[in-house]
């Protein structure tokens, strides 16, 4: 029985090819890491929220890229993260780790029942059901102002870190200093975790479900369970992203959960390249900075984005990463 070559390139790759595979992410993370030293405070805070979006998109791509489920309501988890941060900081619990933990707990408890309902459907029904749930949350946040502050939302104070005493610093230096690097560490950790998950049997089985649900079932893949696992993981990443995105804004309000925001999340994913593990990271960073420049350049920036999205959907479905990463090292 002849020993075959590596069935998956990364399995026993020679040093050369492995180095090339890691060059891309290393460059991206290096740029983000050095950013506070090379860019002005405005751009650093933009990168701060770009990291939040990157985390949310990593989760969303587990659903869209790996499991083939288009969620048009993922912004509801951004809102859950933001409101958790709002409630906790306004009751003087500002410890960042605690906020993240509570947000993850709430995100998961909300995601399981919604997930159980949504994963029974695919394609258009899944998209419409997730949109319906996110608009249900939007209406709830808007209408029950006694609980949620209605259109005024809830103020979010800058969180504190257990290890780092931030009391001496003003908000700007916190956002561009310690908290920036804390979120950066979180991003690296969550990227590695997602890389591990997608490289594990979960990743392979999700892709099998995406490709052919009936065949996967007959090969013993528990489609319902793994879709739910993917949905909850995507939700938790979305909630973490939501907390991070909301901190520089300082306010949690219903517009975070509006359906157009979910549409923008998918736009970012396509821009970066959903068929690529690093697509979400690149998509978030490019979208945030391009939007910042575009909004100053023209008041009709939505029109420009619409045209760009049309071009991507028709001509560059695999987004920027496809153009950059020839070797399909990181393809989902």
């Amino acid at each position: 029985m002849t020993t075959s070559t590596a069935p998956i390139a990364a399995r026993t790759a020679s040093a050369g090819t492995l180095k090339r595979a890691l060059a891309l992410p290393a460059l991206l993370f290096l740029v983000i890491f050095l950013f506070p030293f090379i860019a002005g405070p405005h751009y650093v805070i933009l990168m701060f929220s770009a990291m939040g979006y990157a985390i949310a998109l990593l989760g969303l791509n587990l659903l869209f890229g790996y499991t083939g489920l288009l969620s048009l309501g993922h912004a509801m988890f951004l809102a859950i993260g933001a409101y958790t941060a709002g409630y906790m900081t306004s009751t003087r619990i500002t410890n960042f780790e605690l906020i993240l933990l509570v947000a993850v707990a709430i995100g998961a408890t909300v995601a399981v029942p919604i997930g159980l309902l949504c994963i029974r459907y695919v394609k258009i029904y899944f998209a419409m059901l997730t949109l319906a749930f996110s608009m249900l949350l939007y209406s709830f946040l808007f209408k029950f102002y006694h609980l949620t502050g209605g259109d005024e939302g809830i103020r979010i104070k800058v969180p504190t870190l257990t290890a780092w005493d931030l009391s001496g610093l003003d908000t700007l230096s916190v956002l561009t200093g310690p908290l920036y690097y804390y979120v950066f560490a979180l991003l690296v950790l969550l990227t590695a975790l997602m890389r591990c998950l997608t490289g594990s049997s979960l990743g392979l089985q999700l892709r099998a479900i995406r490709e052919n649900q009936q065949k996967a079932e007959y090969l013993g893949v528990n489609v319902k369970r793994y879709r739910l696992v993917a949905f909850v993981i995507a939700a938790v990443y979305g909630v973490l992203g939501g907390v991070i995105i909301a901190i520089p804004v300082g306010l949690a309000d219903p517009t975070i959960a509006y359906w157009v925001q979910s549409g923008n999340l998918i736009f970012m994913l396509l821009l970066g390249g959903y068929t690529n593990f690093l697509g979400p990271l690149l998509g978030a960073v490019v979208f945030i900075f391009f939007q910042d420049q575009l909004m100053s350049f023209t008041e009709y920036w939505r029109l420009t984005f619409g045209v760009i999205l049309v071009m991507i959907v028709i001509f560059f479905p695999n987004g920027l990463m496809a153009a950059v990463d020839r070797g399909r090292w990181w393809s989902t």
């Binding site: 405005h42 805070i45 929220s49 259109d151 005024e152 700007l172 995105i245 306010l251 100053s296 008041e299």
Partner: protein
């Protein structure tokens, strides 16, 4: 000339002015232009308000530049968009940190105000708000702001409408209904109205409490529900498009004949209150600027003519809020410059100068209290058809100054209402 090309014109003219090539334009000293950040809404429900306020600020800037700028420096506007709170916070930081503007003016929605207030303090950038307050419902979330100068409490519209209701309908109405805009503003208005009804023991009972989401275009069901309730008086805090669609559909269903209407909210809908469907004798508010104020200043007359010429519409109070914000800042700079013998004053000096300053704005005098909240005139009255336009105007015009009708710094609003002896309207 769309806003985009206007901005290019300003940039272009900046260069031209510096070269003094325009005949008659004052040659500015070599000092750099003073950059003012403008956050104007461009999309969604607030878009037309943002454009009106932006046009006013640009008119003001052109005028200032023609008259030699501020302390010899030419005014240059850096325009950004007020979107949802996240976008607005980012645009504010961009203006403050990248364009390092001298001052940022703008903002209409409460959500953006609550998010930008703390950021202005954090970045030590003067923010002259148009209409966004930093209060949640009625209590202040930014107690003693240093860099933020926010706008008048909109509850004044509710107080004035209530006082007019007491003055004209005491003993004539038994039942009232609320058709509120589902917005913090709407809640404050209804609570203020009912508190005032109790204070002046009008003995009225609410028979309907309806809330309309901003942007609703089909209000027939709300009209039908109000007809079911048969209230003597309808207090409606509806804003923008909802306001005139309601009046139009109410007229079509015969509601405006049966119940008295109170619509305290000013706004661009004044151009759409057509005589065809807007009844006479309806209480209509114009907030801090009425385009046909009885003792209109030459400034107001000049602006109304300019604005009507350019857009074919009458300007509404947001123009006054925008004008007063930038004019007060300019006055503050010039007043502070007297102490620093003409040198450009520091931010702290400007802030101290603005506190307590009075400025001639479109709707009358604007004066900033020490707690950075301005006092100004408010205009309200009963609608009438006898005017040369196709829209209703108000006459007689009741005017009040918010000095006596705005809660003092840090006061609890509802306790203050109970205690306060409001001077009765003229």
């Amino acid at each position: 000339m769309s806003a985009q090309s206007r901005r290019n014109f300003l940039k272009l003219s900046g260069g031209a002015f510096a070269l003094g090539s325009f005949a008659g334009a004052p040659a500015f000293a070599q000092s750099p232009p003073v950059k003012i950040g403008v956050l104007a809404a461009r999309s969604g429900v607030l878009a037309s308000i943002g454009e009106c306020a932006l046009a006013t600020v640009q008119w003001w800037a052109d005028g200032v530049n023609k008259a030699g700028g501020i302390l010899g420096r030419k005014v240059e506007l850096v325009v950004e968009e007020e979107g949802n709170p996240k976008e607005t916070a980012e645009r504010f930081r961009k203006l403050a940190l990248r364009d390092n503007v001298e001052m940022v003016t703008g903002l209409i929605s409460t959500g953006s105000g609550l998010s930008v207030g703390p950021i202005a303090e954090e970045l030590k950038t003067i923010w002259m708000s148009w209409d966004a307050t930093t209060q949640k419902d009625v209590e202040e979330t930014l107690p003693n702001p240093k860099y933020s100068f926010r706008s008048t409490d909109n509850e004044v519209e509710g107080l004035m409408a209530s006082l007019l209701t007491v003055k004209h309908f005491k003993g004539k109405i038994k039942t009232v209904a609320n058709l509120g805009t589902d917005y913090s503003y709407g809640r404050n208005m209804w609570e203020t109205f009912m508190a005032m009804m109790k204070k002046y023991d009008m003995g009225v009972a609410p028979v309907a409490d309806l809330w309309v989401k901003v942007g609703t275009t089909d209000l027939t069901t709300f009209v039908a529900s109000l007809q079911q309730a048969k209230p003597d008086l309808i207090m409606s805090s509806l804003l923008f498009t909802d306001a005139f669609i309601f009046v139009k559909q109410a007229h079509a269903a015969g509601l405006t004949g049966a119940s008295k209407l109170v619509m305290p909210a000013g706004g661009f809908q004044l151009n759409e209150m057509k005589k065809q469907y807007t009844p006479e004798g309806m209480i209509l508010g114009h907030n801090s600027m009425y385009f046909e104020a009885p003792n209109a200043s030459p400034l107001l007359k000049e602006f109304v003519a300019y604005y009507k010429g350019k857009t074919g519409l009458f300007p509404h109070f947001e123009a006054d809020r925008a004008y007063s914000a930038v004019a007060s800042w300019k006055a503050g700079v010039e007043k502070a410059a007297q102490q620093t013998s003409g040198k450009w004053p520091s931010k702290d000096e400007i802030i101290k100068a603005i506190e307590g300053i009075s400025v001639e704005s479109l709707g009358g005098t604007f004066s900033y209290r020490p707690d950075h909240i301005p006092d100004c005139n408010f205009y309200m009255g009963f609608t009438t058809h006898n005017n040369p336009y196709d829209i209703v105007t108000i006459s007689p015009v009741e005017t009040l100054n918010t000095r006596d009708y705005q809660k003092p710094a840090g006061a609890d609003f509802f306790k203050w209402i109970q205690a306060k002896q409001f001077p009765n309207l003229s």
